[in-house]
């Protein structure tokens, strides 16, 4: 195609050299989005990082010193982890057997559509709905009392369990749909070979699927964890935002919009990002212990 391009005696010109490396007019199309991302994502992040080292008063580390000296602030890390880790593990443990069942179904669409509802409606609506549904007069407690399982209504809102329930309702479908996409990506021929050789269902799961799915589970865990860790609206509406569900995003929000200390708020946001990153890296690093290689066959 470039045969007609006249060559000068000094070899290809700059434009041709760039085109050979992949830079031409088409490549420039990426620029608007890249500039946008730099301005509204990278720049604010860098700005926030620098701002967090420029506290209102005190030395450059004052914000971080204050965070780790004040139990009201550093406790938010434990409180958030105490919510996010059990919820994520529970969601994953529940999602795996369901995904293994659903993969055999012919008509998955109805179930996946129902499950996509809470994700689409969002955390605010789920919190609003659960306030009524799990409340002392709600249908949930009423059913349990009618069945004679409990005699007093359970206290399920404005405490840890309300937030826990909201994270399960929005988190389980998310975890499930991710898990399902990993489980269906594995060639069923591998399992059939195992079955032919006489492996039981548990053996097939333990020795064929589990090793192949471990990397996928690690990623699912990370994405679900990160979602649960940044819980905000339901922790305020369904929890006890001054007590056991004072999660780290509430601390960041209060610093920014109640104390108007953007420097402190940025510091909390950076700590939050750092804790997430640390857990994600730890989980993904352990992925290297498992098998990595081709497992997807010709599907469909």
């Amino acid at each position: 195609m470039h045969a007609t391009v006249a060559r000068t005696a000094s070899g290809p010109n700059l434009r041709q050299k760039l085109a050979a490396r992949g830079f031409d007019a088409v490549t420039l199309l990426v620029l608007p989005a890249a500039i946008f991302s730099l301005c509204l994502f990278v720049y604010p992040f860098a700005f926030g990082l620098i701002l967090s080292f420029e506290p209102k008063n005190g030395g450059w580390l004052a914000n971080y010193q204050r965070f780790f000296a004040d139990a009201y602030l550093y406790d938010t890390i434990y409180k958030t982890l105490a919510l996010a880790i059990p919820v994520t593990l529970l969601n994953l443990v529940l999602a795996v057997p369901v995904a293994f069942r659903v993969r055999l179904m012919r008509h998955q669409r109805l179930l996946t559509t129902i499950l996509v509802l809470p994700i689409t409606l969002g955390t605010v609506l789920v919190a609003e709905g659960l306030l009524n549904y799990l409340g002392p007069q709600g249908w949930f407690n009423r059913t349990l009392m009618t069945l004679g399982i409990i005699s007093q209504p359970l206290r399920l809102v404005h405490n840890y369990w309300g937030v826990f329930a909201s994270l399960v309702i929005t988190g389980f479908p998310f975890t499930f749909l991710l898990t399902l996409s990993y489980v269906t990506g594995i060639d069923p021929a591998l399992e059939q070979a195992g079955a032919t050789l006489g492996a039981s269902a548990w053996q097939r799961f333990r020795h064929i699927y589990l090793p192949l799915l471990m990397p996928g589970f690690a990623i699912t865990f990370c994405l679900s964890f990160v979602q649960a860790f940044s819980v905000f609206p339901s922790a305020v509406l369904l929890g006890e935002p001054a007590g056991p569900t004072r999660v780290i995003s509430i601390a960041a929000y209060q610093a920014a919009f109640e104390e108007y200390d953007y420097s402190m708020a940025s510091a909390v946001a950076m700590i939050m990002g750092f804790v997430q990153l640390a857990i994600v890296i730890a989980v993904l690093a352990s992925r290297g212990l498992f098998y990595r290689g081709p497992a997807t066959g010709a599907k469909g």
Binding site: L29, P32, W139, L177, V226, P233, Y253
Partner: protein, 280 residues
Amino acid sequence: MIRDTTLGAKLWATAVWAMVGFFVVNLLAMIGTVVTSSFATRWLGTWLPIGWTTRWYSSAWNEFQLGDVLIVTFQVVGVVVLISGALGVTAAYALARRDFPGKRLLVLLFLLPLLIPPITFGIPLATVLYRTGLAGTFWGVVAANLVPTVPFVILVMIPFIEQIDPKLEAAARVFGANTFKLFIHVLLPLLLPGILAALLLVLVRTIAMFELTFLVAGPTSQTLVVALYYAVFAAGVRAVQSIDAMAVIYMVTTLIWLIIALRFVNPTQIVTRAKQQPAH
């Protein structure tokens, strides 16, 4: 197909379905509670309300200025969809068709806003927007919402563009089409289903995007989900039924678009980015 016929396998399957059933029943009952309450005259201490009424809808509409809020919501969502489509599709085209140094870094740059939760990058972003005076305005809300949607469109569109044969474009060039004609007559018709799917997903996600809008919105630039949050947050000031009526209006707004979106996309695509799942 492997069939396990032992008693244990059957019990296990039953247990799994019972759990799914429990989850779905609770989910639907939760939504049912909100809908029932919004039509209730008085509902205290009984299974069902004493009487039924629709007056909470008109009172919610007036109390929360839902007319204005809905207009703002649709304006924000419309502008976000258009801009993220324009920026995202062009960038995805470049990333799908060219290999250049730094491409992996660029893809990582576009991946990060989807992996980092909005509240983490939202607080520094809100700080910058407040310093520039953009926060609280319509364009501030649009800008904040674009941060995750532009990368989302890019990552959904890259595999879609990659599967279109570049020979089609070469052929159009041979027959003398300029870039504009190539785009209008060749690429756009081929890409339209993918663009439509990506933009519908952006639409559904932007209506429900709470955190970013919440952090940067002012009184005149609230979207419906933020208005709902404030209503629930200040519960006690107004009748519960009124807030529930607002929640139903929000649900209907979201679900209409979800139903339209589901005609074009697989539900799993709302969660996973671009996994192309062949129909079984």
